[in-house]
Structure formats: structure tokens, C-alpha cells
């Protein structure tokens, strides 16, 4: 993305963003971690300007004033392109969602759609959303598991409490009451093929919900549950310090990660031959497909990743499968073709992208 002030969505080269490497892949430490199936960590910081109503109840003129204030703040911070979401073509919105730069479901505010803005940095790792539930949502993505030290370093410095809606007892005041307090949410994207194969996903979900975490498949990805891709979210952090939030979240997630590792190892031990066959079939299927639907990509990609975690395939293939999960999504394919493609064309194009990526990975 270029370094600019406010841009018109039509002026931006979306292909440039679509062709960027995926922000959370390609880091060696993530592959070497004991839990390579933790794909990424995403942190959101929610803030609202003091003295303004929240976006949901603000009139269009107040929304415009909020947007002005937010854009001025972003420009002062030397941000990158800021663009109006309502100006973006559907394939661009989809592409942004595939890159996890937009919420899974946006909240409709009739008559105020034009005041929603997005600001993305050059590497598409950090972004800021304006007027989407809260006045400003600052987001950042990290590959794999974020360490406690990095988390504290990044988020410990308090920002100006005068600028934001703040209460001494409750902390940052937000439109969604579950964002209240530190105004911060930690989320991890996990790939749980062990649970999926052992049919233990309902138990995993119940366990996480009982511990107060959100546990859901990535709703905009068709076939996400079958492929074992889930988002785990920290919830209700008011009254807790930053280290306590991180510790509670990681402590709650830990049993699931340990169980997933056990299930994968058990699968490898007890059904080694079947598993190896499925992994090889998936690799072959992806490398030779002429037509490939998105759910099939996720399903075969899941075996590819599992094979990489367990050493059946080159570990690099787990990262390639994740890269393809994003870049072979219909939004990315639509942006490269300048329109949302009909399903048949899209499936053919996807197969070609996947074939080429796997071919070049051999070299």
C-alpha cells in the first residue's frame, strides 16, 4: 500500500495487496513451535472518542465527525492508505476478509455505511477500522503463538485516557459491553485436524466455552469446520491486568493444544498407513486438479498440513497450504481477475493457482 492520506478505493491497486505474502506465514519460529497448528494470533484494541455517542446511536453527521477525528489521528500517526469500505467492490471486501483485515460479519448501520473506513499498513499486518461497532478498532496479526513478553511489550503502554471514553472503575468504555475494560481481545486461529478426525470437536467446543472462551469455525470460510479451522477468542477481560489476560487466555487454551497434539500423535501411531495414504492422495489431488472448489482445497489442505506437522511431508508445506487457503479464496481470485468469477471459472482458476504454487515449492 502507498503512504498516503485519504484515498479513493477506486484509485488503489488492490492487486498489489492481493499479491502480498500472507502476513502470518513464512516465519521459521512458527514452524518450530511445539504447536505448529496455531496458525496466527490476532489482537484487537477497541477505542471510542470521549464526548461522542457510539456509532450505533450516532446520527450520520456525528458519524462523519467521528470519522474525521479518526482519520486526522491516523494521518498524524503517519498511516497508510485510508479508504471508505462502501466504495470497495464485493471481491475487494472478500479479499480483505480473507486476509482477516475485516470482521467475519460486519454490523449493518443503515444510513451510516459510508462512514466506515479501513486503514491498512504496507505489509497488511496492522489495520485500523473506523465506525465498525466501536469508533476505532486497531488490529494486528502475528504468526503462530504470540509470547507473553511480546504481548506485554506491545500493549502495556497506556494511551491517552483523555482522548478516549474511559471510566476509572470500568476502564475503556465500549459499545459492545464484552469489549469493556482494557478494550482488548486476543484471538488465535487454530487448525485441529486431530480433533476433527477423532470426532472430538464438540467436546473441544464445550470445554472452551466452559472456560469462558469463544470457539467457532471461521464463518466466512466454507468448509472451515470440516477442515478443522477454528477461532478461539478471549472474552470478558474487564477488571484484569494485561499479564492476567494473557495468562488466563493461554492457560485456557493449553489443554486443547495438548489434546490436539496427542490426537495427532495417536492418529499417526494407530493409523499410520491410512493417514499417509490420505496425505499423499491430497497432495496429488491438489497438484493435479483441473477444477478445485474452496471446501475441497480446505479439506485436502488440512491433510497436507497434518502430514507436514507429523513429518510425513516437508514442514514448509503447512505454510504453503495456509498461504493458498488465503490467496486461492474467491476474493483474491476475484481481485486478480477484476470481478467476482462465476463458480466454474473460479474453481478452474483456483486449481491453476494451487498447481503453480505446489510446482514452484518443489524447486
Amino acid at each position: 500500500m502507498r503512504k498516503l492520506q485519504e484515498s479513493s478505493a477506486a484509485d488503489l491497486d488492490w492487486r498489489e495487496l492481493a499479491s502480498l505474502p500472507v502476513a502470518w506465514t513464512g516465519r521459521r519460529e512458527a514452524l518450530a513451535s511445539p504447536y505448529p497448528f496455531v496458525v496466527l494470533t490476532r489482537v484487537h484494541v477497541f477505542r471510542n472518542f470521549a464526548g461522542f455517542p457510539f456509532t450505533v446511536s450516532a446520527t450520520p453527521s456525528i458519524c462523519a465527525a467521528i470519522a474525521d477525528k479518526a482519520l486526522n489521528l491516523l494521518i498524524k500517526q503517519g498511516g497508510y492508505d485510508v479508504f471508505r469500505l462502501s466504495d470497495c467492490a464485493p471481491q475487494v471486501i472478500r479479499m480483505l476478509r480473507e486476509r482477516l483485515l475485516l470482521p467475519e460479519r460486519s454490523v449493518p448501520f443503515p444510513g451510516k455505511k459510508e462512514f466506515k473506513y479501513l486503514n491498512v499498513d504496507a505489509a497488511a499486518k496492522r489495520w485500523v477500522l473506523v465506525n465498525e461497532v466501536e469508533h476505532m478498532v486497531f488490529g494486528r496479526m502475528y504468526p503462530g503463538c504470540l509470547t507473553e513478553k511480546d504481548f506485554i511489550e506491545e500493549y502495556a503502554s497506556a494511551d491517552s485516557q483523555q482522548l478516549w471514553a474511559w471510566s476509572e472503575r470500568l476502564g475503556y468504555l465500549t459499545s459492545a459491553p464484552d469489549h469493556l475494560g482494557p478494550g482488548l481481545e486476543i484471538e488465535i486461529l487454530v487448525h485441529l485436524p486431530g480433533h476433527a478426525l477423532a470426532r472430538q470437536l464438540p467436546q473441544a467446543r464445550n470445554g472452551m466455552v466452559a472456560l469462558g472462551l469463544g470457539f467457532a469455525p471461521v464463518s466466512f470460510l466454507e468448509g472451515s469446520a470440516v477442515a478443522g479451522l477454528f477461532l478461539l477468542k478471549s472474552r470478558g477481560n474487564a477488571g484484569e491486568s494485561l499479564p492476567a489476560i494473557y495468562t488466563r487466555f493461554m492457560r485456557s487454551v493449553q489443554p486443547l493444544l495438548i489434546q490436539e497434539k496427542k490426537l495427532q500423535d495417536r492418529c499417526m501411531e494407530k493409523q499410520h498407513k491410512t493417514l499417509e495414504d490420505r496425505v499423499q492422495e491430497s497432495l496429488q489431488g491438489l497438484s493435479q486438479a483441473e477444477v478445485l472448489s474452496y471446501p475441497s482445497l480446505l479439506k485436502m489442505g488440512s491433510y497436507l498440513r497434518l502430514g507436514a506437522y507429523l513429518g510425513i511431508l516437508n514442514p514448509k508445506l503447512a505454510e504453503i497450504a495456509e498461504e493458498l487457503r488465503v490467496t486461492a479464496g474467491s476474493g483474491h481470485l476475484g481481485v486478480s481477475s477484476n470481478r467476482l468469477l462465476p463458480k466454474e471459472d473460479e474453481d478452474r482458476y483456483r486449481a491453476k493457482v494451487v498447481r503453480l504454487a505446489l510446482e514452484s515449492s518443489k524447486n
Binding site: F54, S57, S167, R169, T174, S175, L180, A238
Partner: protein, 105 residues
Amino acid sequence: MCTQCGFTLGEYRTRGLLGCTHCYASFGEALQADLLWMHHALKFSEATPDFPELDSTSDPENLARWRIMLAEALKVENYGEAARLRLLIQNAEASRKFGGGLGLA
């Protein structure tokens, strides 16, 4: 109903969102129970917000602001918001006349 932004408890229940910072004080015990349920570490005493006094509903400045907001809402044909603002104005006017509300809050 929040006397500052006009959001009702019903709207909060439907959308899961609050209209302004004063809603935290306006919705009182109903919201307090939700906050204690959502935020495990929050203590009962902390879930009572420490806001400055809510603006009086009969404050003439508020009335003038709501009237402008009502006109704007009608202009953009946002009838839901207009209806809410109208109720808010009626309540405030009654409060000025009789020293009490219409029981809409």
C-alpha cells in the same frame, strides 16, 4: 431509555450494543448483571459505573439538541431514530411541565 442517546434496553438486548457511555449508568441493574456475567474478574462494586451525573432530561440544551437530531433523522428518512427521539423529547417536555417523566425510561 438512556436520557443521553435515547437507546432503549430493548435495543441493547436486540443488538447487543450500547448507544453511548451514559447507557452504562442508565441501564443500571439490568446491564450490571450482564457485565458481571461477561467479565468474570469484575467485582460487583466495580460494575457500578462512576459517571458524572446524567444530564437532566429537561435540560433546555438537551431538548434543543434532540430537536436538531430529530430533524436530521427525518431528513434522511431514519424513522426508527426519529420515533425514539420524539419519545425522548416528549418525556423531557413532560418532565419540565410536571416535574416527572411519562414512565418511558
